[in-house]
Amino acid sequence: MVKSENHLSLQIQAKKCKWREFMGQLVKIAVVIPAYNEEASIASVVDAINSLSTENLRLTPVVVNDCSRDTTGELIARLKCVPLHLPINLGIGGAVQTGVKFAFNNGFDLAIQIDADGQHPPQYIPTLVSELEKNHWDVAIGSRFIDRQGFQSTLARRSGIRFLQWLLKLITGRSVTDPTSGMRLMNRKAMKVIYDFYPDEYPEPEAIILYYRRGLTFGEVPVRMNERQGGESSIQGLRGCYYMFKVTIAIIFTYLRK
């Protein structure tokens, strides 16, 4: 067990050296798209990602079908992407972790999480990549609230987000403008952290504490997000209260956990 972990850390080390020579070299990015009942929008998201691939930047859409009950499964089997069909529903966190595990095991340099409902415009991926390289971050987060442009969410959600901003600032001493943003680019070091532990549901704000505790460097990049094209938000009404409760508890305990 110990031996294999050593082996793994050596792999990371080797990748890290390669990381320094990224400029001008081919960068392989796994675009992890967790999809649960997203037949309406998934095809256009995958197509948009594929059209962004260049000589230096190869984007591979990895669609994690979280046991959808609609035709998402059959749809992604025909699209130009890596389809991963989960046999049981794991929730958003489990689905994202599945994609990250795939990316890590298959030697991708970077992995980025993109929502299947079209909220995250893929054309920002190259910007996130260059910011990550330039600032030597382990994680780059796409933020709606730096430039305050594009879809700005509802009032109730913004006040919830404001509370999370305050809590995160209290714990990490750093301002994170958009703690609930799911648009996150990570290098292999960050992938390994997610590989080992990731929450099942509502993972985003908690993950920031996780980065902080594991010594990952991170920063935000302004992104103009869209309103969702299809599907429904999972966080509405009473769920919103549960969301705040769960996330607050999780943030505090992730901080206290060794």
Binding site: L84, H85, P87, Q97, K101, N105, D200
Partner: protein, 120 residues
């Protein structure tokens, strides 16, 4: 022996019997069976030994001995429920890891198969 004692004893013994039957069938892990056998044992002892409850109540300084039963039982149930919650959490995590492993292996198998088909 009073009627209620007989009812209690018969009830406890049949409960013990069903627990033992579950273990025999291999449906109940021994670690859980232990808890159930222990609590049934307490019930049986108290059914026979009526003054025992009074004595225990006196020992704990409880006003009404019956309350001791309720307090003790509820406390035991709460602890057991907490134990079950942690077990479920652990099982869920293991389940997730297995599901992910299956997906990744299946992808690899499919990939290898297409590569093979291309070569043949």
């Amino acid at each position: 022996m009073e009627r209620i004692q007989i009812v209690a004893i018969v009830g406890s013994l049949s409960f013990l019997g069903s627990v033992l039957l579950q273990i025999k069938k291999g449906k109940l892990r021994e670690e859980y069976a232990f808890v159930w056998i222990l609590s049934t044992f307490v019930l049986i002892v108290l059914s026979f030994w009526r003054n025992g409850l009074e004595l225990l109540g006196h020992l704990f300084g409880v006003f009404e001995p019956l309350n001791l039963i309720f307090t003790g039982a509820i406390f035991a149930i709460l602890i057991y429920l907490l134990h079950l919650s942690t077990t479920v959490s652990r099982l869920q995590l293991q389940n997730r890891t297995l599901a992910q492993e299956i997906v990744l292996l299946r992808e690899k198998v499919e990939n290898d198969r297409t590569a093979l088909n291309d070569r043949v």
